[in-house]
């Protein structure tokens, strides 16, 4: 009795299970629509690849002729036709290296804190993840402005050091997040095994967990270095006043020439030789960044293949 009443009172919005399965719509039309969507989606992928190829090809076509031994080993590109970008290369290397020295350890420790010490759902981990999200979402020009207020104003001068600090702020969330992700991939059995043997937590971290995650952490570091070496906006704010013909290995106390700033300050010069050299610098920078990205991916693929 009750069962029958239940059946009669079933929700009318649900499909009737007793109705025969009938095909609705025209199958040929439905398949045509589906195929059209397939074609559209493939076309979208082709468009994205064409965008990448167009930019890389343009930079390579216009930049390759400028490349020569003197272009890479002399100073003063943009000022004279025989000039080169050696000092900008050295400056970028020095600034980015210093930024990495600041950001890599702090980023790894932040990742370690999230995976090894804070509980997955603990309030401190949640806050820290939100902070990392927000730091990663900061517009890079705002980072430049902050370092301007933090370092340039008190010191009364722009410097490569201020540029390095700005780049390290950009690198920090990238490294912290990628470290956290690879540390999460380290199997818990390794931690439990070390605990069962009575190994102290810090020895587990240094001897077991970090080596197991080293490849992934290195990948994150390489990606962040590639990102930082092309970053222009913060350098424009805190490291834009420098002697364009000087070679600076030390970044403290004075502005340091860099590749992004060189491209920024010469891309609209009304001189074809200067523009050709700018394309050359852009080509060198793009080549380095793309190779670093490919290298990081290969490294990650190799570490993933090794069972931990």
């Amino acid at each position: 009795m009750n069962v029958v009443a239940g059946l009669e009172a079933r929700d009318p919005s649900l499909p009737d299970p007793t109705a025969p399965l009938t095909a609705s719509g025209n199958l040929r039309r439905r398949q045509a629509v589906s195929r059209a969507v397939d074609v559209g989606a493939s076309a979208a992928a082709v468009i994205a690849i064409l965008m990448l190829c167009e930019v890389v090809y343009t930079v390579a076509r216009k930049g390759a002729p400028a490349l020569s031994f003197t272009f890479l080993t002399r100073n003063g590109a943009g000022l004279a036709s025989g000039g080169g970008i050696a000092n900008a290369l050295i400056g970028t290397a020095a600034i980015v290296a210093f930024a990495a020295v600041i950001a890599v350890p702090i980023g790894i420790f932040t990742g370690l804190y999230l995976t090894e010490f804070a509980g997955r759902r603990s309030p401190s981990a949640r806050v820290l993840k939100l902070v990392l999200d927000m730091l990663q979402g900061l517009p890079t020009i705002v980072v430049g402005i902050v370092v301007y207020g933090l370092i340039v104003v008190p010191e009364h001068r722009e410097s490569g050091f201020a540029g390095a600090v700005a780049l390290s702020i950009i690198m920090l969330p990238i490294i912290a997040r990628s470290s956290q992700e690879v540390l999460l991939l380290v199997p818990n059995s390794l931690r439990e095994g070390a605990d069962a043997l009575g190994v102290q937590r810090w020895r587990t971290v240094v001897g077991v967990i970090l080596p197991a995650a080293a490849g992934g952490i290195a990948t994150g570091a390489i990606l962040s270095i590639a990102r930082a070496s092309g970053e222009t906006a913060p350098l424009l704010i805190v490291n834009s006043i420098f002697n364009p013909t000087s070679t600076q290995l030390m970044i403290f106390g004075h502005g340091v020439p860099s590749i992004p700033m060189y491209i920024w300050s010469t891309y609209d010069l009304p001189s074809t030789t200067a523009i050709a050299q700018t394309w050359g610098a852009a080509f060198v920078l793009l080549l380095f960044i793309l190779l670093a990205n490919v290298g990081a991916r290969v490294l990650l693929a190799r570490t993933r293949r090794i069972p931990t």
Binding site: V33, S34, V37, D38, A41, S42, A43, A44, A45, A48, I49, M51, L52, V56, K62, I106, Y113, L114, A118, S124, V127, L128, V131, D133, M134, L135, Q136, G137, L138, P139, T140, I141, V142, V143, I145, V146, Y148, G149, L150, I169, L172, R177, Q200, W202, R203, L223, R227, G230, T232, A233, L236, I237, I241, P260, I263, Y267, T278, A282, L285, N293
Partner: protein
């Protein structure tokens, strides 16, 4: 008994020594976390502090006035906000459908070998430095747009006031928006691909078993179950577009005030980038800090909104950063 006690003492002393190492490591990790948190607070403080003179002078009226005349110490952000919104909208209108389509292709249609090549290539678009995107935009994109795209759009949509007559140089808000697509597209594409891959195969297989075509599976199962994540991906792409300074400065043509689509304009970030190194009056730098404060508020809000929409999806994972 004594030997047992000695053993216990030895163990406890070793534990203490290890506890010291543990404490050092924990201390370092906590310090790093606190440093990151302090950094964010410092960011907010520095921007507000730098903007204080301008806030005191212009108040909230800064947000609605469009005159930007550094020489006369008169500043208003409305033109820059307008340019930021317009260029970002153009980028999103192009990049969102394209990115979702790429995400669908990579997650549901492409063979595995193609996927392994095309996916990284799309993500590599995001690796191109903005100064090179802008340089390419000035040299290649702007002439193409001013010769072909803008006249076509003007002749078709010219009755709408915003589609005014094209300029000779091609440097315009429209060009900047199209150029920004290069930066937004890889974010939306990578995030939506990873989202679509999280759809349980039971659902898609079930739909397929009921005779649904691929499009019907996408429309009926994949998109509805990932809609919130796709929205979050779009917001993250929007955040990237809003904050981009260098490429926009190169392509947008440096105009002030509120202009039509095909005229030179400015955005919040591009105004800072083009004017900060050469300020021309006392309130110039504080007003640029004020612009940065608006930018910061939008940037932080988009992070929070994306997080809130995404719910339990960890959307950042997919950016590869």
């Amino acid at each position: 008994m004594t030997s047992f006690g000695a053993g216990a003492r030895r163990i406890s002393s070793r534990l203490r020594a290890g506890g010291g190492g543990d404490r050092v490591l924990l201390g370092l990790c906590v310090a790093a976390g606190l440093l990151a948190t302090g950094l964010l607070i410092e960011v907010v403080y520095q921007v507000i502090n730098g903007a204080r003179p301008s806030i005191a002078h212009f108040g909230l009226g800064f947000l609605v006035h469009s005159r930007w005349e550094p020489v006369f110490n008169r500043f208003g952000a409305a033109g820059a906000i307008y340019g930021t919104v317009l260029s970002s909208l153009i980028a999103l209108i192009i990049a969102t459908p394209l990115g979702i389509a790429i995400g669908l292709y990579l997650s549901m249609m492409a063979p595995v070998t193609v996927r392994a090549v095309v996916g990284p290539m799309v993500e590599m678009l995001a690796a191109i430095p903005s100064v090179i995107v802008g340089f390419w935009g000035v040299a290649v994109l702007a002439p193409f747009i001013s010769k072909h795209v803008e006249p076509a759009l003007h002749s078709v949509l010219g009755f709408i006031p915003i589609f005014g007559a094209p300029q000779e140089s091609g440097l315009s808000t429209f060009t900047a928006g199209v150029g920004l697509t290069l930066m937004v597209l890889p974010i939306v594409a990578a995030l939506s691909r990873d989202l679509f891959l999280t759809v349980p195969p039971e659902l898609t297989d079930g739909a397929a078993a009921l005779g649904a075509t691929r499009w019907e599976i996408i429309r009926g199962v994949v998109l509805p179950s990932t809609a919130s994540g796709v929205a979050a991906a779009t917001v993250l792409g929007l955040g990237r577009a809003l904050g981009e300074a260098i490429a926009v400065t190169q392509m947008i043509g440096d105009g002030t005030g509120i202009h039509k689509l095909f005229s030179p304009g400015n955005s919040l970030a591009s105004r800072i980038a083009s004017e900060f190194p050469t300020p021309s009056s006392t309130l110039d730098i504080p007003s640029l800090f004020y612009l940065a404060l608006i930018l910061l508020a939008i940037g932080l809000a988009s992070s929070v909104v994306a997080r809130a929409i995404a719910g339990r999806f960890d959307v950042h994972r997919a950016t590869g950063t």
